[in-house]
């Protein structure tokens, strides 16, 4: 029941906020902020024992769902506040709430087809609504993202239907008397390629990244994590749950296809980091960094090993949190200095030590804090999917963000540009108005006093919140793992791996078991 409550509150408030925003943007943002905090609390109450039957399917709680939803909600709440205090787009709360609600339903659903359809609905809102809130030219860019989200989701749904049909491998392979049926192997391979294509599309992996590159230009930076990182992560969790259960037993037949997936993943990691290194626009830098980090998620499809599921879940929760951290930093920088190219941002770190600290923390989290759970999960994924020496190359790619943001930080330590020098100071001013004690205990007066103080100190508050988000993100990257115990000795996320889709595959029609029966008969 806790799953349904969290999803209902998230979706209900998301729709309300989206409807109210065009006329009362500040009120909508306030409601959205409160809603996200409430959803974070509700999500933290989700238990693995929660089951809500819905026809022959069910909504099932899991540790993965709890950590995913609670972390997303907390990060989104901070992003909404940073956005409101800095750039003031006020277009972040509604899409985040709806995307989060849809992701909760998707990850909790025991029906993978329904999960993809929910993700399509949430993804459409997450990519279109922030763009529509912007100027005309920006809104029109969203068509490409809209098409990608819908095509990816329904490609995933179609693959599931096809694989379980008489045309799928489980039926095709049943006629062979002995040995490996080449027809079944082909259909399994096609299924893997199709589901990976869907995930790559949704996560903006190279070479399907054009829509993501356009989108990050067109929407507020604070809305990027919901549209790209968290939405893509939820998609990958659902898809991997199905793929590992359904295609995993036939993994021995998928050598070529898995190699292809590994090439796409490796290309995304390396080329994404390279693109981030070459761009001067910080929105592009953030966007390509998110795309590159998402490439590690694709590695789970290159291994299809059940032990990859917990590692993937741990990595994706940290990935979403770290993407939020970068987005919070970029939003605060944009609000503070009003520009977004490195050439204009020289000296930003000298003028804003809080934001500099935030960037260092998030970058450290993404590169891999010592003993960090996310880094260990990523290393586990690489180890499972790639053989030496390719695993070393992929792990070197993980160092890409250090180069990328080292360059950003270096620019920040140079002599301040005119724009940066003219920007308001980050220090709290504590002027007479904000120091004046309130003479009344009325809640309304107190709220007004707080609002006035916040308005006066918004540069400082936004930077502080960006730092808080960075601390949260790096903490998630440290703790999103876990306890030892996986079969290869690598840490297992405390957020239990098997999202409910994994559980469903085991409990329900168990396509994997039938695949095993029909595939390996030698």
């Amino acid at each position: 029941m806790s799953v349904a409550v969290a999803a209902a509150v998230s979706l209900g408030l998301g729709v309300l906020v989206s409807l109210v925003r065009p006329r009362f943007a500040r009120v909508a943002t306030g409601v959205g902020l409160v809603g996200l905090i409430a959803v974070a609390w509700l999500a933290s109450e989700i238990r693995a024992t929660d089951v809500l039957p819905f026809g022959s399917a069910a909504l099932v709680g899991s540790e993965t769902l709890r950590s995913f939803a609670a972390t997303w909600a907390a990060c989104a709440a901070l992003l909404v506040a940073i956005d409101a205090l800095s750039v003031g787009s006020l277009a972040v709360a509604g899409p985040a709430l709806i995307g989060l609600g849809a992701a909760i339903l998707a990850i909790a659903s025991t029906d993978a087809s329904a999960a993809f359809a929910f993700l399509a609905a949430g993804g459409v809102v997450a990519v279109v609504a922030p763009a529509v809130a912007g100027a005309r030219t920006r809104a029109l860019v969203a068509w490409r993202a809209l098409r990608t989200v819908v095509v990816a989701s329904f490609l995933g749904l179609g693959v599931i239907a096809w694989e379980s049909s008489p045309a799928g491998p489980f039926a095709v392979g049943s006629g062979a008397a002995d040995g490996v049926d080449p027809a079944a192997a082909s259909t399994l391979g096609l299924g893997l390629i199709a589901i990976v294509a869907a995930v790559a599309l949704r996560m903006g992996a190279i070479p399907t990244h054009v829509w993501a590159a356009r989108l990050v230009e067109a929407i507020p930076a604070a809305a990027v994590p919901a549209a790209l990182a968290w939405g893509g992560a939820a998609f990958a969790i659902v898809a991997a749950g199905w793929a590992i259960a359904a295609l995993g037993p036939g993994v021995a037949l998928l050598g070529v296809e898995r190699g292809l997936v590994a090439i796409v993943a490796g290309g995304t990691i390396v080329l994404g980091a390279t693109a981030a290194l070459l761009h001067d626009d910080i929105d592009h830098v953030i966007g390509y960094t998110i795309v590159a980090a998402g490439g590690f998620g694709l590695l789970a499809f290159a291994t299809l090993d059940p032990s990859a599921a917990p590692l993937l879940a741990a990595w994706l929760v940290a990935y979403g949190a770290l993407a939020s951290g970068f987005a919070g930093w970029a939003t605060a920088v944009r609000g503070r200095f009003g520009v977004r190219t490195l050439a204009e941002l020289h000296g930003w770190a000298r003028r804003s030590p809080l934001l500099a600290t935030a960037l260092v923390l998030v970058t450290a989290g993404l590169v891999g804090l010592p003993a960090g759970g996310a880094a260990a999960a990523r290393g586990g994924l690489v180890g499972l999917a790639l053989d030496p020496p390719y695993d070393a190359v992929a792990l070197l790619g993980a160092l890409g963000p250090a180069l990328v943001f080292g360059r950003v930080l270096r620019a920040g330590l140079e002599r301040p540009s005119d724009v940066v020098a003219r920007a308001p100071s980050e220090r709290p001013r504590l002027d007479s108005q904000t120091r004046r004690p309130t003479s009344t205990r009325s809640p309304v007066a107190l709220a007004r006093a707080v609002a006035t103080a916040a308005k006066g100190e918004r540069t400082f508050i936004a930077a502080s919140l960006a730092l808080a988000l960075a601390v949260l993100a790096s903490a998630v990257s440290l703790t999103s793992t876990a306890a030892p115990g996986s079969k290869d000795g690598s840490p297992v996320p405390s957020a239990s791996p098997a999202a409910s889709t994994f559980e469903q595959s085991e409990r329900g029609q168990s396509p994997g078991a039938s695949a095993q029966r029909s595939m390996s008969r030698s």
Binding site: F54, G55, S56, A57, V87, G88, S89, A91, A102, L105, S109, S113, A114, A117, A120, A121, G122, V124, V125, V128, A129, A131, V132, G134, R136, T137, R138, A139, L140, A142, W143, L146, R147, V150, V151, S153, F154, L157, G158, I160, A161, W162, S164, S165, P166, A167, G168, A171, R214, V216, E217, A218, I219, P220, A221, D281, D283, V339, R340, E344
Partner: protein, 230 residues
């Protein structure tokens, strides 16, 4: 029962042809509603009454969300340059192929004598139960591919995406059986989200593609960051 299935499939495909081909917006939207509303009926066995009602109401609401943009005189639903006869012929061709493929997928039950049973033909009732949804789904997907891959305005893209969802669900009913209630609910949510998203985008103009991209590039200077227009 097969007759009802075939009738519903015919309505779904004909509606899709009208939605893609019609130059008159009212006809196009009516076709879209027919295609979306008839699709859940193309399943054996039929979905429950609640699920059926949900899908039909969802279809009507999706078209209703698109209607203001069409009524406001914005471009869109301008019809395919191919014309409806060509589109209908293409849909029929793809449907026939789909039926033939479905016939190949049916595994015949061995005879009592132990001899292998002959492969049923495309018009065998056993084949038609799964073949009609499969054929209709492939036909609708073929029709949707044009506005999805080559959209020249937002509303046409939206119509294509709604038909794509419709086609995938038909195909899913043919290959994987009737969708369950949770999936029906999720599909309706997707239909409404896509329709609302397209309607929102259409407020800002209709053109998409390279022309629009150029406009975006021209308007986005270094200082024009996200949120600046908000």
């Amino acid at each position: 029962m097969i007759g009802g299935l075939a009738l519903a499939a015919f309505i779904a495909v004909a509606g899709a042809v009208a939605a893609v081909a019609a130059r008159e917006p009212r006809i196009g939207l009516t076709g879209l509603v027919l295609a979306l509303a008839a699709a859940p009926l193309v399943a054996e066995p039929l979905p429950g009454l609640n699920a059926l009602a949900l899908r039909i109401v969802g279809a009507a609401l999706a078209a209703y969300l698109l209607w203001p943009a069409v009524r406001a005189g914005r471009p869109g639903l301008g019809g395919s340059g191919l014309g409806w006869p060509a589109l209908a012929l293409a849909a029929v061709t793809v449907a026939v192929i789909g039926l033939a493929v479905a016939a190949e997928l049916v595994v015949p039950v061995p005879l009592d004598t132990g001899d292998p049973a002959p492969q049923p033909g495309p018009l065998d009732p056993v084949v038609l139960r799964s073949g009609i949804p499969t054929a209709a789904g492939l036909a609708v997907l073929a029709l949707a591919s044009l506005p999805v891959l080559l959209p020249h305005d937002t509303i046409r893209l939206g119509v294509g995406l709604l038909l794509l969802i419709d086609g995938v669900m038909l195909l899913r009913a043919g290959l994987g059986g009737r969708p369950e209630a949770l999936e029906q609910l999720a599909v309706v949510a997707s239909l409404l989200a896509v329709a609302a998203g397209v309607a929102a985008l259409a407020r800002f103009g209709a053109h998409v593609g390279p022309l629009r991209d150029a406009g975006f590039g021209a308007g986005a200077g270094p200082g024009a960051g996200p949120g600046s227009g908000a």
